[in-house]
């Protein structure tokens, strides 16, 4: 089972009514838990940056479905196995925190290959801990020999880079998590 298969699986589970999924195949074990039916307060979404009235497509404010949160201790018992992160899980675990610690996402606007720097010998545009500004280039996504510098539409501190250099990315895939308060 490779990364793509897992992605597919997560999509399927998200579309289903399942809240718990476990599988075992030899050495490989996978456990996915969704909290889609957990009761929760509505998340307080921070507003996107001024000047982007429409939902910004690349860099989205945490939507109500915001799976990437600083993972506060959850009331539900944690699964024994590492929990797969659903790209579009239905309910945010962090809603309890009122959304004030939510991270923003930088997403890929196109299908292509993700590059963290403009050439192999150059340093990455943005690494964990860096503060990025609106309009700053954070990565390159190459698609069929078209090289795209992706501008950030938000400012904050990079807390996670979710894709390895030179890896393929899908449309709307989350690339970076950014803490707007960082």
């Amino acid at each position: 089972m490779d990364f793509k298969d897992i992605q597919e699986l997560i999509k399927l589970i998200n579309r289903s009514n399942l809240t718990d999924f476990k599988m075992k195949d030899g050495e490989f074990e996978l456990s996915i838990r969704t909290n889609k039916y957990q009761k929760q307060k509505p998340a307080v979404s921070p507003q996107p940056t001024a000047g982007t009235p429409q939902a910004a497509p690349i860099i989205q404010m945490p939507p109500v479905q915001q799976p990437y949160t600083p993972a506060p201790p959850q009331p539900a018992p944690a699964p024994a196995k590492p929990q797969a992160e659903a790209p579009k899980a239905e309910a945010p675990a962090a809603a309890e925190k009122g959304g004030d610690s939510n991270y923003l996402e930088v997403r890929s606007p196109i299908v292509g290959t993700f590059y963290r720097s403009s050439s192999p010998e150059k340093p990455p545009y943005a690494k964990v801990g860096d503060t990025i500004e609106v309009g700053q280039v954070v990565c390159i996504v190459e698609a069929m020999k078209l090289f795209n510098e992706i501008e950030s539409e938000i400012s904050g501190k990079v807390v996670k880079v979710l894709v390895e250099d030179a890896q393929p990315v899908e449309y709307d895939q989350v690339l970076f998590l950014v803490d707007p308060k960082g």
Binding site: T52, P109, V111, F147, E151
Partner: protein, 256 residues
């Protein structure tokens, strides 16, 4: 020095005798200012012309055209950017056909290389900036082999206009024609004529509607029929009774 017979491309031309890369210079300009649309940067010689990430483009002094054109295709959704490959490849092809009217047919190799008699006559490198879903600016970089008499042995698959046509060409005339062709194609794209542009791209696409050999991910070799490109610009191939689309790094075209 500016192009005649164009509306906006080449009304400002920054011509250098040598630059590391015309695209990089265009990027630098864009980072400091907002050059007017159609600004062209050329170099008689590129000392570090860029091919794909990590590779270089051979461009000896005054024998090739190395030009970069700055455009602001804000009408184009980022996801539809393959249209830029289409117009750039067609513009190069228009130019080559113009100077080699009786020459061998000039074809496009997906995604954006231009071939003459089975060899590469031009390379295109497009660099965009995206904010949100829209393209902000694009730099269309074109390297066209014009008067090269002989390529180094390391480049057995390169060809120049001179080699194909047996004559020397006026570089300025070729450059101007290229600027004009690009402008016409760009205006067609802006005029939402993507369907007819795509049709023309297909008509000139190597392997379109033909059976060719390809190397699939995992090393399997297949004979597949080219069906064009999908909306993300991936190559659509028909084999094993079904159609599949492949990205640039997923598939290798095996010449006959």
């Amino acid at each position: 020095m500016q192009y005649k017979n164009t509306l906006f491309i080449g009304k400002v031309v920054h011509a250098f005798s040598a630059l590391p890369s015309t695209n990089s210079h265009a990027q630098e300009l864009l980072s400091k200012s907002t050059p007017i649309e159609g600004t062209v940067i050329t170099a008689a010689e590129q000392t570090a012309g860029r091919g794909q990430i990590g590779s270089r483009w051979y461009s000896p002094a005054s024998l090739c055209i190395s030009m970069s054109v700055i455009l602001y295709p804000r009408f184009l959704e980022a996801r539809r950017q393959f249209g830029l490959n289409i117009i750039a490849a067609l513009a190069v092809r228009d130019t080559v056909q113009h100077f080699l009217a009786d020459g061998p047919p000039c074809r496009v190799k997906w995604p954006n290389d231009v071939y003459l008699a089975g060899k590469k006559v031009a390379g295109i490198l497009i660099q965009n900036q995206i904010a949100g879903r829209q393209l902000q600016h694009t730099i269309i970089g074109i390297g066209l082999n014009v008067n090269v008499e002989q390529f180094p042995p390391a480049l057995p698959l390169a060809i120049s206009l001179r080699q194909a046509g047996g004559a020397l060409y006026d570089l300025w005339a070729v450059e101007e024609a290229l600027g004009r062709a690009l402008e016409q194609r760009y205006l067609a794209l802006r005029g939402k004529q993507i369907a007819s542009l795509q049709e023309e791209y297909y008509e000139n696409l190597l392997g379109y509607g033909e059976s060719c050999r390809y190397l699939l991910p995992g090393g399997r070799e297949v004979v597949a029929v080219g069906k064009g490109v999908d909306e993300d610009g991936r190559l659509r191939l028909w084999f094993d009774g079904q159609e599949q689309a492949f990205g640039l790094k997923e598939i290798q075209w095996l010449p006959d």
